[in-house]
């Protein structure tokens, strides 16, 4: 009797998992482990072990979230958003300053959490929720309110300051508004307005942020300062060639020329040791992940599900694009990790939460019909 019930239990859980997404994510994580191992070899090899634990935890979170129906998720959305927003205000007041940024808040002095990370998922959820609630009466007012919901938390994240996260949160929110059907006129208008306020944004930027933007255009202008990261990572990528230097044989990696090689710059490790073959495999895996997400979105049954799935897919894309673009000297240096590959638990949990939501949307489709 009993084994049958357990079997049934596992069967019900498995029913809410998407095999295609699992396959893609497992591939990505494997690539990630290979790279983290190399980036930590031989001095910090314990990182490899803790990354395995991070992955297992994140994987469990994904399975858990996949069980929650989109309907329930929708009800959670306002709570999630409000909690995140309050925490952002709390960070602004009592946050811990690390490396010149106030990003973390210490809860009971035990765990440090980064509320801006919550916003990466809470933002598309609240906006999808809001558009879903006003599905039949989409007016300009709806878009204005959604704009406010988007802007407020971003202001606090920018104040920390955290350019990378605000970019991701902004992109996630904007994609919801875009998919909800914001008229092209307004989009164009915003683009023009955005260009117009660029000089003011430049004024408000921190020196290090400005330097990063400037060195993007000419990394060699500051070879030992802000340009050093970009120069060394492009050398790593370029010297990798077609087939790469071989696992654990990247000279740029192992002679410590690549900064932050296990986190933000891990793509340079991959490209140096596995060459353009490795780069193509990674780009392909990301593309598959995004396409699968968009497919789930296009077949989702409710507006909330559609918008959320599409937005999460866009977050994955922005993550990957901004990171690889930065490491290869295509975009300015913005502190964004490479999804599923970079070492670190927080980003991984957020990403797998997103994958779990995608699975929930995909697998609850027929069940909630």
């Amino acid at each position: 009797m009993r084994p049958r019930r357990i079997k049934l239990f596992f069967f019900r859980i498995a029913a809410h998992l998407d095999p295609a997404l699992i396959l893609i994510v497992l591939f990505l994580m494997s690539v990630g482990l290979v790279c983290v191992y190399s980036a930590s070899y031989p001095d910090n090899i314990t990182r490899f072990n803790s990354q395995i634990i991070n992955m297992i935890l994140a994987f469990l979170l994904m399975i858990l979230v996949a069980q929650i129906s989109p309907h329930k998720l929708m009800r959670l959305a306002p709570i999630f958003y409000l909690a995140g927003f309050i925490l952002l205000i709390a960070v602004d007041r009592f946050g811990v300053v690390v490396n010149g940024s106030r990003r973390w808040i210490s809860l009971f002095g035990i765990i440090r959490i980064q509320p801006s990370e919550i916003m990466k998922i809470a933002m598309p959820m609240i906006l999808a929720w809001y558009f879903h609630k006003n599905e039949s009466t989409l007016t300009l007012k709806t878009f204005i309110v959604s704009g406010i919901l988007l802007i407020l938390p971003i202001i606090f994240i920018l104040k920390q300051p955290d350019l990378g996260t605000s970019l991701l949160v902004g992109a996630a929110g904007f994609s919801v508004i875009f998919f909800a059907g914001l008229s092209w006129k307004i989009i164009m208008g915003f683009c023009a307005g955005g260009l117009a306020i660029l000089p003011f944004v430049w004024e408000r930027m921190h020196d290090y942020q400005r330097r990063r933007v400037l060195t993007l255009f000419d990394p060699s202008s500051d070879p030992l300062g802000a340009g050093y990261h970009i120069i060394q990572s492009t050398i790593a990528i370029g010297s990798g060639g077609v087939f790469g230097k071989g696992w654990l044989h990247g000279t740029q990696t192992h002679l410590k020329f690549i900064p932050e090689k296990h986190t933000d710059f891990i793509f340079a490790v991959l490209a140096e040791e596995w060459g353009i073959i490795g780069s193509i495999v990674l780009l392909f895996l990301f593309f598959c992940l995004i396409v699968r997400g968009l497919m789930i979105s296009s077949t989702a049954t409710t507006l909330f599900s559609r918008l959320l799935a599409a937005s999460i897919s866009m977050v994955f894309f922005i993550y990957a694009f901004v990171n690889i673009g930065m490491v290869s000297g295509f975009l300015p240096v913005v502190g964004v990790p490479l999804p599923f590959i970079s070492y670190g638990g927080t980003a991984l949990l957020t990403l797998m939460l997103g994958v779990g939501i995608l699975m929930s949307i995909q697998t609850h489709r027929t069940l909630t019909k």
Partner: protein
């Protein structure tokens, strides 16, 4: 229905936008791919080069400098390995703190700190820089025990230059010192920059400088893999250094030391060479200095001492200081007279004790004169009047031409730097030397003093030895030299340097033999007789006295002034009489008569060199005798001569 229709339209728009997003994503991925393609495929070679130059550092391996030996294999300069305490700044957070902690274990003097700071500025951050050199065994042990406390600090074995003979022949051997800007220009001019990467020292004077590129060797290279902090990870490849060549000098260190000790505390110079080939057997410049002081960077107080010393120990008097030859000029004048057919040996003159030229009376120093004097007597008794007359008969142009032919008044081309030309007076020389027209004119009276080796005449001891060697060789001229052969320690091949006859002076062998006989007379009955009494070999010689007529350029020191106004003593000697194997020019500054101080030095070195007799006790000056006192000092009874030297 309417609602459904509306929813349908919404869904279509949503899917349109999804497709649009997909296209956007795809195109940006394509952009990323093209960037990666550009980096990894198109520019791969470029970035590979960058990555390689990032990780590979060429470290020069400095070759061992060649040794310098004397003709019998006595080591004059060598390298020894000593422990140094070295700091690699890139591996240390706070250099000052580290040094402070180190100084509790090992004595670090302010001098060490200064040198370290200087080296720190000159070197790259990941070079290892010595803070202390020549650690004792106790210091090595005491640091090794506490080594774990000092990451980035190491004990290394380095090679140091050492001159085991100390201050003996220091001017000849020279010394090495740190490469300065002038040396760098020299290295560049010789296209040796790549070979000197990593080399810190270079020859400064003497053989060390002249044969720098023989002694240095070829620098090797190690390819090191370094990390972003400049730390060496592994050696990729290496080309070993080729050690520098060893030099065997012509110098005889035994002879050199006998010669040096004979100077006691007097200033002066000595050049002894083998007339048969120009090999320098001994070269003294007294006082001397200890080249070992320079090896590790000279201490400022030592430098002050050497530099400000009134006796100028750093000056190589043997090749740089030019002195009037005095009566040592007379045998050469006699040679000139015979060669130019102005006199025969038998021709006599009457010496009343003076020579009248124009309205001047040039005095012989023997009151009443020598009476009837032939050429032989003129040399043996050093008769001034004979040469006053001879000079007047020959004229300055002929004298200058002949003496120039002997090699006087120009550099001999010896293989150490720092030689001076000396002064061979002539109307052309005077015209070049002086600015004012009245000074440029040559006065016939000046020729008369030139005839006895005074006046403007000034030659280095080396030139004098060289000129006499040329005469003794019957006119065959060899370049005076210090290096006999060069040994390559890698192949153990020895290359003996060739010193062929550079030119032939037209001299009649009969005349040469006559001059030799006359000079032998000096050592038998003349001014050299007392110094050479009972010598087990036959020798020739000639004393001379160089007038000191100016203290220009010397600092006024009241107590010593009088001493420094005394005349310089010369002695030229050679032996054996038949086929001489050694000729020596000796100058003792401010010692008065040549016979008194200079001649005994010649006796000592000849005894050692020819009879193997080591000198016993300190040199005792020969007491001057009434009869053998020289008469060469030009005594003027009037101050009207334009060249007239004045002791004031």
């Amino acid at each position: 229905m309417n609602d459904f229709h509306h929813k349908q339209r919404e869904l279509e728009r949503f899917r349109r936008r999804l497709l649009l997003a997909l296209a956007f994503i795809f195109s940006l991925f394509c952009a990323l791919f093209s960037k990666l393609f550009y980096l990894q495929v198109l520019r791969h070679d470029h970035y590979t080069t960058l990555a390689e130059s990032n990780r590979i550092s060429l470290i020069p391996i400095i070759p061992n400098r060649g040794n310098i030996l004397d003709r019998n294999g006595v080591i004059l300069a060598r390298n020894y390995s000593a422990f140094t305490l070295e700091i690699t700044p890139s591996q240390i957070e706070n250099i000052d703190k580290t040094i402070a902690a180190l100084s509790e274990i090992i004595k670090i003097e302010p001098k060490d700190r200064r040198r370290f700071n200087r080296l720190l500025q000159e070197s790259r951050n990941f070079d290892s820089i010595p803070i202390r050199t020549q650690l004792s065994d106790e210091e090595v042990a005491s640091f090794s025990a506490r080594r774990y406390r000092f990451p980035g600090v190491d004990i290394k074995a380095r090679l140091f230059r050492e001159y085991p003979e100390g201050n003996a022949a220091a001017h000849v051997i020279g010394y090495i010192g740190r490469i300065n800007q002038k040396d760098e220009e020299w290295i560049r001019a010789e296209y040796q920059e790549s070979n000197y990467k990593g080399t810190e020292h270079i020859g400064k004077i003497g053989v060390e400088q002249f044969y720098e590129f023989e002694l240095h060797g070829t620098t090797g290279y190690a390819q090191l893999e370094i990390d972003a902090n400049g730390r060496a990870v592994q050696i990729l490849s290496s080309t070993s250094a080729v050690p520098g060549n060893n030099l065997k000098l012509t110098l005889d260190m035994g002879l050199q030391k006998v010669a040096e000790s004979a100077f006691i505390d007097r200033r002066g110079a000595l050049v002894a060479l083998d007339p048969r080939n120009g090999a320098i057997l001994a070269m003294v410049s007294a006082p001397t200095f200890d080249p070992n002081l320079f090896v590790d960077g000279i201490r400022s107080d030592d430098w002050e001492e050497l530099n400000n010393n009134i006796d100028k120990p750093m000056l190589n008097r043997a090749i740089y200081s030019a002195y009037p030859p005095g009566s040592t000029f007379k045998p050469m004048m006699a040679m000139a007279a015979l060669t130019e057919k102005k006199r025969t040996p038998q021709q006599t003159i009457y010496d009343p004790g003076y020579f009248i030229f124009g309205n001047h009376r040039f005095l012989d120093d023997k009151p009443g004169g020598h009476g009837i004097v032939d050429m032989m007597t003129s040399i043996v008794v050093s008769c001034n009047t004979y040469y006053y007359q001879l000079a007047a008969d020959m004229g300055i142009d002929l004298i200058a031409r002949f003496m120039g032919g002997l090699g006087l008044g120009k550099r001999t081309g010896i293989d150490i730097p720092g030689e001076s030309d000396g002064i061979l007076p002539s109307p052309e020389w005077k015209e070049k030397r002086f600015k004012k027209p009245e000074q440029q004119k040559w006065y016939a009276g000046e020729t008369i003093s030139v005839g006895i080796g005074q006046g403007y005449n000034a030659y280095t001891p080396l030139q004098m030895a060289h000129a006499y060697a040329n005469i003794l060789n019957y006119g065959k001229v060899f370049r005076p030299h210090l290096v006999d052969s060069i040994n390559n320690p890698s192949t153990n091949e020895t290359r003996t340097l060739e010193y062929p006859i550079t030119r032939q002076i037209a001299l009649d062998p009969k005349h040469v033999d006559f001059i030799k006989k006359a000079m032998a007379g000096v050592n038998k009955q003349g001014t050299g007789a007392r110094a050479f009494a009972n010598a087990p070999y036959e020798s020739g010689g000639k004393t001379g006295t160089a007038q000191v007529f100016s203290l220009r350029g010397q600092k006024y020191v009241s107590g010593r002034l009088r001493e420094r106004l005394r005349d310089h003593a010369w002695f030229i000697a050679f032996a054996p009489l038949e086929n001489p194997t050694i000729v020596a020019a000796i100058l003792v500054e401010n010692s008065g008569f040549g016979a008194q101080y200079a001649a005994p030095i010649a006796r000592r070195i000849f005894d050692y060199y020819l009879a193997g007799k080591a000198p016993e006790g300190a040199l005792v000056p020969v007491e001057p005798e009434e009869e053998t006192l020289e008469g060469e000092a030009e005594k003027h009874n009037s101050g009207e001569n334009p060249h007239a030297p004045s002791p004031n």
